[in-house]
């Protein structure tokens, strides 16, 4: 008893007794494990990306090995003849996304300019919140609306261009409606990073609203605007449900803008449940192509947005 007491009474260099030393050691251990534990979860994100790439590559390999370059040059996708050409789907994906961006960008920029420069202060918040809420509506709702309302409407409006109401242009319009709130929200956020002093000095020089927007705001946030647009493009490229209903599922390459076609995501969604063997592998190869396309597009967008973020205070 007395010897134990004398040991614990020995002064530590911090003046801590044994109980405190034990606590110190335990907390130090928790500290180390807390950092290691959280770090391993963060590394999990990296592993996730690697695993996605690898698993898609492995499961797509049978098809890629069998068809090789034919996979990218064949102009039709006929599962029962085991002819798998990715071109109709790639063409449809690019065309629908470009139509969507071409419609959505002017409209979203217009809304963003209106919101940041012209909108009465009382309306600004409710309108902004509405746009953000609309960006949260699931894409399947847009698809259902496309097949119920937009398709029949286009068919009635221009029966020569839209004989069935479905097709690449219909899908592009649906995608545009879907990404308008998305691009608008980003554009508005980016435009509001311009310091109000800059804006006001331009107004003070006698610029009109348009001149301020064009010569002061746009040049100083160009990267952010482009990043936002590309992010919208990335969403349109990978969108499945808004497109699957209205694109028409024509599996032959047909150089048209309004006719029926297919996109990578729509083709995978419609054929995968019944696919087997080499067809399933081919569909996974399509998935890999889509992932690579969107990865490049998103990486460019993030790089541009990152530059803006770094500059913002």
């Amino acid at each position: 008893m007395s010897s134990e007491q004398s040991r614990s009474d020995q002064p530590h260099h911090l003046g801590a007794n044994r109980r405190e030393l034990r606590l110190l050691a335990r907390n130090g251990m928790i500290d180390r494990w807390f950092e290691r534990g959280t770090c391993s979860f963060a590394v999990l994100v990296l592993a996730l990306l690697g695993a996605i790439m690898l698993s898609l590559l492995i499961s797509a390999w049978p098809a890629l090995a069998t068809y090789g370059a034919d996979f990218f040059t064949q102009t039709r996708w006929s599962a029962n003849q085991e002819v798998f050409g990715a071109w109709p789907a790639i063409y449809g994906t690019l065309v629908t996304s470009l139509i969507a961006v071409a419609i959505a960008v002017p409209v979203s920029f217009g809304i963003a300019i209106f919101l940041t420069e012209k909108c009465p202060a009382a309306l600004r918040r409710p309108l902004g919140v509405t746009i953000e809420l609309l960006a949260g509506i699931p894409s399947i709702i847009y698809g259902m609306w496309g097949i119920m309302v937009l398709g029949p409407f286009l068919q009635w409006l221009a029966p020569e261009l839209f004989p069935a109401g479905t097709g690449l242009a219909t899908a592009g319009i649906i995608l545009a409606v879907m990404i308008i709130p998305f691009i608008t929200a980003i554009t508005r956020d980016v435009m509001s990073t311009v310091p109000s002093v800059t804006r006001e000095s331009a107004y003070g020089l006698g610029c009109t609203t348009w001149e301020v927007v064009r010569s002061v705001i746009f040049p100083s946030v160009r990267g952010g605007l482009v990043g936002g647009v590309i992010l919208g493009l990335g969403r349109a490229l990978g969108e499945t449900m808004a497109v699957a209903f209205v694109i028409g599922n024509n599996l032959f390459l047909h150089p048209t803008l309004t006719g029926q076609g297919t996109s990578i995501a729509a083709l995978i969604a419609s054929q995968f449940p019944e696919a087997d063997g080499i067809q399933r592998s081919a569909l996974l190869a399509l998935g890999l192509v889509l992932f690579l396309i969107t990865f490049v597009v998103l990486a460019i967008a993030r790089y541009m947005l990152m530059r803006i973020e770094r500059r913002a205070p």
Binding site: D31, T38, V45, L48, L133, Y142, G143, W210, M241, F295
Partner: protein
């Protein structure tokens, strides 16, 4: 005194016409979106009834009860898994990662995953979970939804932790608190509202995901409460099937619209709660 020379008039004209275009763009965009909401509410309310919630899905008649329960189970499961992983990873990025190269790379990859197409996530889970298990299952659905929500939670956790002032951390450390104690008790309580907002927004996002479920949980027309090893009924897949392969049955299309209304209402409510949470914390 107004200067009425031609340059001034031209500038004013250009400005007026472009601002008119902007206003009409705003009206145009908002009219489209309101049109969609109007169709949704109109079609949805006419099909809504008590049986929609209590009956299971059938080829003729029936309701959406099992799909709603299945969606709830999978969304909650995915959110729980995603929240744990996301908060841990976000904590490391904000508190320990700093400007190191590893943290920069993870941040970049996370941003890319944040907007990766959800159909790809579905294919990934199909390849690593469904193929080895040999069947579609609720577990695979939960895994896919978790992978989708993780980047959302990471992003918001990191952003919110970075808003906690460094002086608070230093004050706690000066009082002798260990690093983990500072993070858990000081930083988390400062960033709590923001993190909850992020989780709620992520939850709203995954509850409407359809594409990944085609390859993971598939769908079923039976009641399935906690048998996660087998196919799981869910609302988005039911909407998809009712509008495509079953679209020749008018009752199924009606049910799809009722389901769409329920789904959108749930998502909007989640979004609004998230907004209220973040606004309350801003007030404080």
């Amino acid at each position: 005194m107004r200067n009425e020379n031609s340059v001034y008039r031209r500038r004013r004209l250009i400005n007026r016409s472009i601002m008119t275009l902007c206003v009409s763009a705003a009206v145009f965009g908002i009219v489209w979106l309101l049109l969609i909401l109007f169709t949704l509410v109109w079609q949805g309310t006419t099909a809504l009834s008590l049986e929609v919630f209590t009956e299971r899905t059938r080829m003729s008649g029936g309701g959406l009860g099992n799909a709603i329960i299945g969606s709830l189970i999978m969304t909650v499961g995915g959110t729980v898994v995603g929240t744990i992983v996301g908060i841990a990873a976000g904590t490391w990025l904000a508190e320990y990662g700093g400007r190191s190269r590893l943290a920069t790379v993870i941040r970049f990859i996370n941003d890319v995953l944040l907007s990766a197409p959800s159909i790809i996530i579905g294919l990934f889970i199909y390849a690593v979970v469904v193929l080895p298990m040999g069947r579609f299952s609720g577990w695979a659905g939960i895994a896919a939804l978790a992978v989708i929500i993780i980047p959302v939670v990471i992003r918001s956790t990191e952003d919110m932790l970075k808003l906690v002032p460094n002086t608070l951390r230093e004050a706690a450390s000066a009082l002798g608190a260990h690093r983990w104690w500072v993070v858990v008790r000081v930083c988390y309580s400062g960033a709590r509202a923001g993190i909850i907002t992020g989780v709620l927004l992520g939850c709203a996002r995954i509850s409407g995901e359809t594409a990944p479920l085609i390859f993971t949980s598939l769908n079923s027309n039976q009641w399935n409460f906690f048998n996660l090893g087998s196919e799981m009924p869910n609302l988005p897949m039911t909407l998809y099937q009712n509008m495509t392969i079953n679209s020749f049955i008018p009752r199924q299309v009606e049910l799809a619209w009722a389901g769409a209304l329920i789904l959108t209402a749930a998502i909007l409510i989640l979004n609004i709660i998230a907004r209220i949470v973040s606004r309350e914390s801003n007030k404080r």
